[in-house]
Structures are given as structure tokens and as C-alpha cells.
């Protein structure tokens, strides 16, 4: 088991090297002269030269790459020009907001999509099956920023049951004491139920928006793999042995059908992390996505590069977790390799 996990960890290393090389190339591909850019429009020639030396841009590309990797290893991502703060610090303080939102969206998506796919597979061509198919097609066609705005219009403007879509907590509540950075956890640690509920209210709409987006591939895959599992020999044998239908469907068919679903989660994460940026913009969510957008608008590149790097590392990590999970669900994999 442990050696399997170690082997998976080792297999992620080429991806990480690739990610670091690409982000390095992207930092050097700035339009024009980066030194002139960082010096500002009024800078003299000498000032530009000074900054060039300070940033290490006068060195060879190879040497610059070594410097870049060294800085990364120390956890440095450069400074934001507009705020003057270290990018790594700002990303770290904003990360919990993004993770809380993405996780909740994912939990909602799995919680709805898996049962939906199972019921659709149990009764092909029934109304559940049709609902499943409509959701699977509509889910991939909906622009996520449009779904978010639609939610705001219906639940905030028309029905008035949602709070204004402005951040993680309404202005007249003060945010909970910082422990984990997750408002849901921190407010419970404070024992403040009012703040907890306020945070939940803010989270519902953006998490739903993300969830609807992630629903489609999961439901589609669950349905397809449940269909093939239900028609397999081991399910027939289990039925013939007189096992109850719940035991057969959940204990036998679903357990086997979940393998391809876990695989598709990798793709879902790729979509979710990207969609997260758009949802954060729509709901003014103070996560790393809206941080990157603000920086983009001000042509402040260091935060954007840091954001891309952090997202890629998270994604590689998630894929690794999926691989390990796969090995846990299906022991045949770890024995074979």
C-alpha cells in the first residue's frame, strides 16, 4: 500500500517539473522589456538597468531559471506591484475562501449526480433517465458566469431569499476569528451560530452554481458505468443468490461502477478550478481567482503567475489524490503495478 502511494508520488514529479518550466516561460514572455515595465514609464535608462540587475534579468536564461526555482523552493512568488505585498502571502490568505467554495460545490455535485445517475441507470427511459440526460446536456452548455447571474436574479432580486452577492459574509457580521480560514469551521469554533448561518447563506448560491456545472460529467459517467455494472455477471449472481436489491445495487453494482466515476473526477476538477475564477468574479468572492482577475486588470503580472502556479500545483495534487483513491477502491490496481 505504502509503496503504491510512493510510486504515485514519484509519477507526479514530471508533471510538476513541466508546470514549473511552463510558468517560467510565461514569466519571461512578458510583452516588451520586463525591466522597463517594472521601472514604470518615467524611468531613466540607468534606473531600468538597475532594475534589470536587481531582477536578475541580465543573467543567462539558465541562470535565471535556477534563481526562479530557488525562489519557488523558498516559497517566494515575487511582489504584487499594485499592493506591494508578497504574492505568496496574499494567495495563502485568500486560498481558504476558494477551497471552501470549490469543496462545497463538489460535494453538492457528487451528492446529486451519483444518486441521479444510479436511478437513471436502474430505470432506463423513465422520467428520471430523461431528467438525467437533460441535465447532462444542459450542464455542459451553460456558461457558468451566466448561471451565476441567473441565480442572483432569481434568488436575490426576484425572491429576495438570498443575501446580496458580495463576498463571504454580510457587512453587519464580523468574520470569525482566524483559525483555519474556512468561515464555516471557524464560526463553529467560535461557537457563533449566527455567523455560521450568515456564512452558509453567502455560500449557497456560488456553491450551487459551481455544483450544477460539475454535475453533468459525473451524472453521465455514473449512469453509463452503472448500466454496464448492472448487466454484468456478478450482479446477476448476487441477485440469483437471493441478496436484497439494496445490497445488490449499492454493495455490488455501485461499488464497481464508482471506479470510472473517480477517474472522471480528474477532469471535473480541471473544469471546477477554472470555473471557480468566473464564479468568484460573479459573486465578488474574495478568493484567489478574483485576486488574479484584479491583478490582470491592472497588468500586475506576478500575482497572475503565482495564481497559475498555485492552481496547477493544486490540480496535480488532486490528481495524485484521485490516483491513490483509485488504488484504495480497486485493490487490483496496486497489486498489478
Amino acid at each position: 500500500m505504502l509503496s503504491m502511494i510512493l510510486r504515485r508520488l514519484a509519477s507526479a514529479i514530471p508533471s510538476l517539473i513541466g508546470v514549473v518550466i511552463v510558468t517560467f516561460v510565461l514569466t519571461r514572455a512578458l510583452p516588451g522589456d520586463p525591466a522597463a515595465y517594472y521601472a514604470g514609464p518615467a524611468a531613466t535608462k540607468e534606473a531600468i538597468e538597475q532594475i534589470r540587475v536587481k531582477l536578475g534579468l541580465d543573467k543567462g536564461l539558465g541562470e535565471q531559471f535556477v534563481d526562479y526555482v530557488g525562489a519557488l523552493a523558498r516559497g517566494e512568488l515575487g511582489n504584487s506591484i499594485s499592493t506591494g505585498q508578497p504574492v505568496a502571502h496574499e494567495l495563502l490568505t485568500r486560498l481558504p475562501a476558494s477551497i471552501e467554495l470549490t469543496l462545497l460545490g463538489l460535494i453538492f455535485a457528487i451528492g446529486v449526480a451519483v444518486p441521479l445517475g444510479v436511478f437513471a441507470a436502474l430505470r432506463p427511459n423513465s422520467w428520471v433517465d430523461h431528467v438525467c440526460r437533460v441535465i447532462a446536456t444542459a450542464g455542459v452548455s451553460l456558461p457558468i458566469f451566466f448561471t451565476g447571474l441567473l441565480m442572483i436574479y432569481v434568488f436575490y432580486f426576484l425572491l429576495g431569499i438570498a443575501p446580496p452577492p458580495l463576498g463571504r459574509i454580510e457587512v453587519f457580521y464580523s468574520p470569525p476569528t482566524h483559525v483555519t480560514g474556512f468561515f464555516l469551521v471557524d464560526s463553529l469554533l467560535d461557537g457563533d451560530l449566527g455567523v455560521f448561518l450568515a456564512a452558509v447563506k453567502q455560500l449557497v448560491l456560488p456553491a450551487l452554481t459551481l455544483g450544477i456545472f460539475a454535475l453533468a460529467p459525473i451524472a453521465r459517467m455514473t449512469r453509463a458505468s452503472m448500466l454496464s455494472a448492472l448487466s454484468s455477471d456478478f450482479v446477476r449472481t448476487a441477485r440469483a443468490s437471493g441478496l436484497g436489491s439494496f445490497k445488490v445495487v449499492v454493495g455490488y453494482a455501485l461499488r464497481n461502477a464508482l471506479l470510472p466515476v473517480v477517474t472522471v473526477l480528474g477532469m471535473v476538477f480541471s473544469f471546477l478550478l477554472g470555473a471557480n475564477v468566473l464564479v468568484e468574479k460573479v459573486f465578488a468572492w474574495p478568493g484567489i481567482g478574483s485576486y488574479a482577475i484584479e491583478a490582470l486588470i491592472q497588468s500586475d503580472y506576478a500575482p497572475v503567475q503565482g495564481f497559475v502556479l498555485v492552481m496547477a500545483f493544486m490540480y496535480v495534487g488532486l490528481n495524485l489524490a484521485i490516483d491513490v483513491l483509485y488504488g484504495v477502491i480497486d485493490p487490483r490496481i496496486s497489486m498489478a503495478t
Binding site: I21, T137, P143, F145, L149, L158, F269, Q305
Partner: protein
């Protein structure tokens, strides 16, 4: 050619949804071709009645500077489709060539191209597109390039798998015996034979390309504000939706959704049409 048409008619007659998708696609193409010249108002001109709800005068209402939203939505088709077509063409060309080279030659080709594909796939794709546009400069051309790059792995993977399978087919062996060089086999034997599958991939990824480009312009990348483009129009409308002025964001959003939906249906339909199991 004639039998292909007859076949298309046969399959379409069988499949109302695909026929509907083709009709919708044709409508979008007309809008893209002549849209800017047939709309009732100038899509860029400010009008005297800002923020007017939909009426008989302005079918989709007007935005904050009084521009007619119907005109803007129709005129925007051209730009959105041009971005999507260009980026998909780029990904299709580069991905197919790289994929068949990897699948047919194997060895170093396969290792290098496989590594490239893995590296791109190591990023959440939309985030990578953001990073590329941010680094290379905020232009429409770079939006096309970024969308092309993130679609590259899809084509490279499919082409590699297909080329890998038909590399051992009898007719490849026959061509080799007839004295064809390897490169000639690649272009005259392998490429035409994987084309149908690649064409299906085109229509399946076109919707994703449009969504992606619109998403980038929604966060302020690429297309500049006065230009009519669906993503940026939704972004304009986002500021007004909390006050209940829904039409500014709703109509461009709906049309964008329809376009993506149309391509997804078309992709499914084309797959049915090209799949030999459906031929009788």
C-alpha cells in the same frame, strides 16, 4: 459524394434533434456572415434611451449607454465564431499532425509529444489560458492562441490513438511494399483515414472553445469594451442584474448558451452519422 448526401439525409431524417441542430447552426452562420449589415441599429452607437427594457422598438432592450442589445447580440456572432473557429483550426491542425506523428512513428516523437500533452493537461485548462493571455499580451490573437493550446491535447490524444491502431493495418503494409515513403504514408494513408473521427472532435470541442473565449472576455481579457462580444456583454450586464435589469446580461448569455448547445448536439449527431454501425 451523392451517396454521402443521401446518407446524410437518411440519418437526419432519422434524427430530428440533429436536423434541428443543423438548422440552428445554419442560422448562426448566416448571422455571422451578414449579421452586422442586417441589424436594425448600429451595434456600437449610443442611443437616447439607456437601460430600456425589451419593447417593440428594442427587441432585447438597451444597455447602459442606450445601445440596442439585439443588434449587438447578432453582430457579435461574427467575432465569437471567428475566435472559436480560428482556435479550433489551430488546435486541430497542430494536434492532428503531432498526434499522427506520435502514433505512427512512435519512439522519440511519441515521448516528446506525450510529454507536451501531459504538461498542458497538468494545468486546469481555463487557468492556463488565463496565464498565457496575461503573459503574452491582452489581444484577440492571444485569446485564439491560448484557446488553441488548451484544446491541443484533445486532438493529439485522439489522433495518436487512431494512428496507433491503423499503423498495423493491411493497406499501410501494402503502401509500404508499393514503395511509399513513411512521410507519404502519413499524409496519404493515415491522415485521410482518421479524418472522420477528427471532424467529430471538432464539433465536440467547438462549444468548449466558444465558452472558453467568452469566459476569458468575461473576466476582461482579449476583447475591449465597446466591441460587441457575448462574454463582455454578459459582463456589462452583471453590474445591473442586482437592480433587476436582467435583459442586458440575459440575451447575450442565452444566445451564447444556444450556440454551445447547438455545437454539442451537432457533435453527437455527427458521431452517429460517421459511426459505421449506424449505416445500413
Amino acid at each position: 459524394m451523392k451517396s454521402a448526401l443521401a446518407h446524410a439525409r437518411y440519418v437526419l431524417g432519422d434524427n430530428v434533434v440533429t436536423a434541428f441542430a443543423f438548422g440552428m447552426f445554419a442560422l448562426f452562420l448566416v448571422m455571422a456572415a451578414v449579421g452586422p449589415w442586417i441589424v436594425p441599429y448600429d451595434p456600437l452607437a449610443n442611443g437616447p434611451n439607456p437601460l430600456e427594457p425589451p419593447s417593440s422598438r428594442h427587441w432585447f432592450g438597451t444597455d447602459q449607454t442606450g445601445r440596442d442589445i439585439f443588434s449587438r447580440v447578432v453582430a457579435a456572432t461574427q467575432l465569437d465564431f471567428a475566435i472559436a473557429f480560428a482556435s479550433v483550426a489551430l488546435a486541430f491542425g497542430a494536434g492532428t499532425l503531432a498526434g499522427i506523428a506520435a502514433g505512427f512513428f512512435g519512439g522519440w516523437w511519441e515521448r516528446i509529444i506525450g510529454r507536451m500533452v501531459d504538461t498542458i493537461m497538468a494545468f486546469p485548462l481555463f487557468v492556463l489560458a488565463m496565464g498565457i493571455v496575461a503573459a503574452m499580451g491582452n489581444t484577440i490573437f492571444n485569446i485564439v492562441l491560448a484557446t488553441g493550446i488548451i484544446n491541443f491535447p484533445i486532438y493529439a490524444r485522439v489522433a495518436r490513438a487512431e494512428a496507433n491502431v491503423i499503423r498495423n493495418a493491411g493497406y499501410i503494409e501494402a503502401a509500404r511494399i508499393a514503395g511509399y515513403g513513411e512521410t507519404r504514408i502519413l499524409f496519404t494513408q493515415i491522415l485521410p483515414n482518421i479524418m472522420p473521427i477528427m471532424v467529430v472532435q471538432i464539433s465536440l470541442t467547438m462549444g468548449y472553445a466558444i465558452l472558453n473565449a467568452a469566459g476569458l472576455s468575461f473576466i476582461g481579457l482579449g476583447v475591449r469594451p465597446p466591441t460587441a462580444e457575448w462574454g463582455i456583454m454578459v459582463s456589462d450586464g452583471a453590474n445591473f442584474i442586482q437592480n433587476g435589469q436582467w435583459w442586458i446580461a440575459a440575451f447575450p448569455g442565452l444566445v451564447l448558451m444556444l450556440a454551445v448547445f447547438c455545437f454539442n448536439l451537432l457533435g453527437d449527431g455527427l458521431r452517429d452519422m460517421i459511426d459505421p454501425r449506424r449505416r445500413t
